[in-house]
């Protein structure tokens, strides 16, 4: 298989999967098999591209041009390191998320599961389209497909809350993308006459001074999926959706599409040189710093676990934007690494939140006292995921923070090292209490029984049975751990895998580092050597 075919196949597979899911909708087992097989195949195809990217020189990357939409504007794809990383994250995490979603939807008897899995596959299709986009038009096209294909997922329950959340979701994402991002793209086209991504940027020599800063503002705020304040409201609003959707939003595809777009535009449209030289991104550093600190503080105040994790995501996304805005090699590397690290950590945390909800119907942290005894695997994974988000070794998250701090030091922006450290302290403050309560506090007896018998009062959307999937393994475990009450195996297994993934990323970070290194070659020399 030639690399060009592989690009086409990687993007087409999830689309075909969506069609297959729709066609097999009446037979759930077959439908689920389609999801699993498609996700495995997609990941395999994406993996075949990895050696191509690391092996070839930048000017010799595989491409696939489908058609010319307007003179000079083509629907075309190309594999480059940053996109490769995002494609690996999206396709790789689709597998555990798909499994988890199957377990979650069955454990919960969700309605409209066919629509759910169809839209899920469509979202992955759009994510891979973004990852491999060769120019701004293709990126924008798939960016909007991603927004629209996730709308039915966010509004899955179809009640008034979901409708309101859907309005916020579409409202913010479409407004920012149409008003700012499209404007920025057209302005770039007007200035340069091209939309193709080019290492070192296309704006150098075509735009100077305030125009660069204004364009950067349009791009940064136009990418609403990066959730830079004040355009972050859609992310907490989307919390009404089922937990697998939150995992998709926060880890697999959507927010990562946002920060990926920001990094990609900084590297391939502006060029690190231009930004570093002109200082046009100074304001963006402060905007990102503000977002990452204030959303950490907001996260501290949230008792609802998913809401707390949502604000944590907003904060972590700004790490990546900050890494791009620093416009130093280490900053870009740190931002890129953080895409992978945060994805793995946050998906673990959301899987855990969903597993807790499926097993005990608890949403609020204050109700989770002592839950670690009933759910040792889930809460153990939560602990590992939290460590990665905070940035403690031996978790993957420690590397990305390390390089971000280095990036700040390189660019004489040492104050942002302090910002990063304060934010890490704050994340300890909002994540560790959950683990502490779960393992160290005694269970609240009355709350516990409420959790087991109070299913009826949770509205139609939240019906479910914690008893699902309790086979011989859990019976055996229950004998070892008294009071053992885990979520179904299909929920717990994926979250254990991703938690182990957080540790593995610590040891394999060098591969990602080497993958990304070529994109920084136009930047000032990399002073950080490992």
């Amino acid at each position: 298989m030639s690399p060009s075919t592989a690009i086409g196949l990687a993007i087409a597979l999830p689309l075909l999967g969506a069609v297959g899911i729709q066609l097999t909708g009446s037979r759930p087992n077959l439908r689920e098999a389609v999801t699993i097989i498609t996700s495995l195949l997609t990941f395999a195809v994406v993996l075949t591209l990895y050696p191509v990217v690391t092996g070839l020189a930048p000017h010799n990357r595989p491409e696939l041009e489908l058609l010319t939409v307007l003179p000079g504007v083509a629907l075309a794809f190309q594999v480059e390191p940053l996109g490769m990383l995002y494609a690996l994250v999206a396709a790789g995490l689709w597998i555990p998320t798909g499994l988890y979603a199957i377990g979650y939807c069955r454990g919960h008897d969700e309605q409209n599961q066919t629509r759910f899995f169809t839209c899920f596959a469509l979202a992955i299709f759009a994510a891979l389209g973004i990852a491999f986009a060769r120019n701004l038009f293709t990126l924008f096209l798939f960016y909007e497909i991603l927004t629209l294909s996730t709308y039915p997922l966010v509004t899955h329950y179809g009640n008034d809350d979901a409708k309101a959340a859907g309005r916020t979701y579409l409202g913010i994402l479409l407004t920012t993308s149409v008003l700012f991002l499209l404007m920025a793209i057209l302005w770039t086209w007007n200035l340069t006459g091209t939309m193709e991504f080019k290492l070192g940027g296309i704006l150098a020599g075509k735009a100077e001074g305030p125009v660069v800063a204004a364009l950067l503002a349009l791009y940064a705020f136009g990418t609403g999926k990066a959730a830079l304040m004040p355009f972050h409201r859609w992310l907490p609003a989307a919390m009404v959706a089922p937990t697998p959707v939150s995992a998709l939003l926060h880890a697999v595809a959507i927010v990562k599409a946002g920060v990926f777009t920001v990094l990609k535009i900084i590297v391939y449209v502006f060029g690190i040189d231009l930004l570093g030289r002109s200082g046009a991104s100074d304001w963006l550093m402060w905007a990102a710093a503000f977002t990452l600190l204030s959303s950490s503080v907001i996260a501290l105040s949230k008792d609802n676990l998913k809401a707390r994790l949502a604000y944590s995501t907003i904060s972590q996304l700004s790490y990546i934007v900050l890494g791009g805005a620093l416009a130093t090699a280490a900053g870009i590397l740190g931002g890129g690494l953080h895409i992978a690290m945060h994805a793995m950590g946050k998906i673990t945390l959301f899987f855990c939140a969903g597993a807790i909800f499926v097993a005990s119907h608890k949403k609020n942290i204050s109700d989770m006292d002592g839950i670690g005894r009933a759910m040792p695997f889930t809460m153990g994974a939560f602990f590992l995921g939290s460590m990665s988000i905070i940035g403690l070794p031996p978790m993957g998250g420690s590397w990305s923070k390390w390089y971000l701090a280095m990036g700040a030091a390189d660019g004489n922006n040492a104050i942002f090292i302090a910002v990063l450290m304060i934010s890490s302290l704050l994340s300890i403050g909002y994540l560790m209490p959950v683990v502490g309560r779960a393992f160290l506090f005694p269970p609240k007896v009355s709350e516990h029984s409420h959790g087991e018998h109070g299913h009826g009062e949770h509205g139609h959307s939240e019906h479910g049975h914690g008893e699902h999937g309790h086979g011989p393994i859990s019976a055996w475990l229950a004998r070892i751990f008294p009071g053992f009450h885990e979520a179904p195996l299909l929920c717990v297994a994926p979250l254990c895998v991703t938690a182990i993934g957080c540790i593995l990323l610590f040891f394999y970070a060098e591969d990602i580092y080497n993958l990304l290194l070529p994109i920084t070659q136009s930047a000032p020399a990399v002073t950080v050597e490992r």
């Binding site: 939409v69 409708k163 579409l170 149409v178 057209l186």
Partner: protein, 492 residues
């Protein structure tokens, strides 16, 4: 044979219309109308490819040489509009084949097809002719038949809607005739190309200025340029579904063509934009139309009315493109003429299918019907996304050129306004999508299902075309760009 195609383009529907009346049978009349519309499309496509190959075609009617005789003069611009009008006819006429025509009295249906054919004939005639007085004649044929068609709507208010269109349309037609008369006085010719040659000699006279004002305002009434749009919402919302689809996709588009012809071919861009300063009037009015039309659409309770107000906003985009008087803007305007016809025609057909099933076009009666009519919902969503201008749809292509035109003209503000007004489209489109998509409190009757295939196929042809031409723009933006360069006399 092929050298007579220009006259056949107009003569076929003109002859078929009285045949329909004579046939006195609705099935035969319908079959004839569909057949003629398909033949008209074939002729139009042939003409376009001929023009692309050999350049301007001049056909002398009855062998009388212009400027005395009537000349049919086909260049890239009107060949393109002919293809548009004919394809809309070819898709819309078979809509609902096999189902009873709604709201028509028994024994009158064949007259309805005669009127449709006459309307098609008039619209094609306006487009193809190179003679100013001929434009007026065909304009009246198209207008009179469309007054009839509108008043055939089921509600009694269709009669008043048709009547007020008759009044305003006649004023518009009269203004155009007055303008033509004055120009005839000054130039002694009715042939547009001939007039255009002589006008520069007399362009300083007050008579020519008056003629210009009369002709532009008259055309603007027919085109429903804000604030001369009063007739449009009622006409489109009370007319029968197919008629709304046909007129919204063709009548205003042909008027736009006439306006472009008057400005660029007859008077010339220099006179219009430098001497008369039309852009100083047209640009603010277009921007107002974009915002007020969309804002009004947000508050409509009737889906057809909502689409009608959206049309006013979309016409604003087209006239805005014209008022830039640069290649990008004119390309955007002319491309949007085609693109808007596809999406609005498609959407009106989708609504006609909904009305066929639930018997109402009120938005509140449509709660949750997307569950039992999934294909209808899908078609509406795609058409709506096209109105918004999401990439991958035709709306994006138009917006692309219009924003570029604004940037080239150095107006960042207008560029932002174009994008901001498309956000209003998000509001009015998504308001309907929410109603269709989310389940109703009480389930709609379970018998509800998608309209028959004879309705779905035409709807999907137009809706599918909004995606096809959103990615494949050789025919739309490509030809529009060539036509724009031709009108502005700019070399490629």
């Amino acid at each position: 044979m092929t050298e007579h195609l220009p006259v056949l383009q107009v003569a076929l529907p003109l002859v078929a219309a009285p045949l329909c009346v004579l046939l006195r049978n609705r099935h035969a009349a319908r079959g004839l109308a569909v057949l003629v519309s398909w033949l008209a499309l074939a002729i139009a496509c042939t003409l376009l490819s001929q023009v692309q190959d050999v350049g301007v075609i001049s056909y002398k009617l009855g062998g009388w040489a212009p400027p005395l005789g009537i000349e049919y003069r086909i260049d890239l611009l009107n060949a393109y509009v002919l293809v548009l009008v004919a394809s809309i006819g070819a898709v819309v006429f078979p809509f609902g084949f096999g189902t009873p025509e709604q709201g028509l009295r028994e024994g009158q249906q064949h007259l309805y097809y005669a009127a449709l054919l006459l309307c098609l004939c008039g619209l094609l005639g306006i487009t193809i002719t190179g003679d100013a007085f001929n434009v007026f004649v065909f304009l009246e044929i198209a207008s009179l038949s469309s007054y009839t068609l509108i008043s055939l709507g089921r509600s009694r208010r269709a009669l008043t809607a048709g009547f007020s269109y008759l009044i305003l349309g006649s004023i518009g037609g009269t203004f155009i005739l007055l303008g033509i008369g004055m120009l005839y006085m000054m130039t002694g010719s009715l042939n547009i190309a001939d007039m255009a040659e002589q006008l520069p000699l007399v362009s300083g006279t007050r008579t020519v200025w008056m003629a210009f004002a009369f002709m532009v305002i008259g055309t603007s009434i027919k085109l429903a340029v804000f604030p001369l749009h009063q007739w449009l919402p009622n006409a489109y919302s009370y007319a029968p579904g197919v008629v709304s689809a046909f007129l919204s996709a063709t009548a205003t588009k042909v008027s736009y063509y006439v306006l472009a012809r008057i400005i660029f071919t007859l008077f010339g861009a220099a006179f219009v934009f430098e001497t008369m300063g039309l852009q100083r009037l047209l640009m603010p009015l277009s921007v107002l139309a974009m915002f007020l039309g969309s804002a009004a659409a947000i508050y409509q309770r009737d889906l057809k009315r909502l689409l009608a107000y959206s049309s006013i906003a979309q016409i604003g985009y087209m006239t805005l493109g014209l008022s830039f008087a640069n290649v990008s803007g004119l390309t955007g305007g002319i491309a949007h003429l085609f693109n808007h016809a596809l999406m609005k025609g498609g959407l009106f057909l989708v609504v006609a299918g909904i009305v066929y099933r639930i018997g109402s076009s009120k938005i509140e009666d449509m709660r949750g019907i997307g569950r039992s009519m999934p294909l209808t919902l899908a078609a509406f969503v795609i058409g709506g996304l096209s109105l918004i201008g999401v990439p991958g749809t035709v709306g994006f292509i138009s917006k692309w050129y219009l924003v570029l035109a604004a940037l080239e003209a150095g107006s960042m503000l207008i560029a932002f306004m174009i994008l901001a007004s498309s956000l209003l489209a998000v509001v009015y489109v998504w308001r309907v999508v929410e109603v269709l998509y989310f389940p109703a409190e009480q389930d709609p009757s379970s018998e509800l299902k998608d309209p028959p295939w004879s309705m779905l196929i035409p709807s999907f042809l137009l809706i599918g075309a909004t995606i096809w031409f959103g990615l494949q723009t050789d025919l739309t933006a490509g030809v529009a760009g060539d036509a724009a360069r031709m009108l502005l006399e700019v070399a490629e």
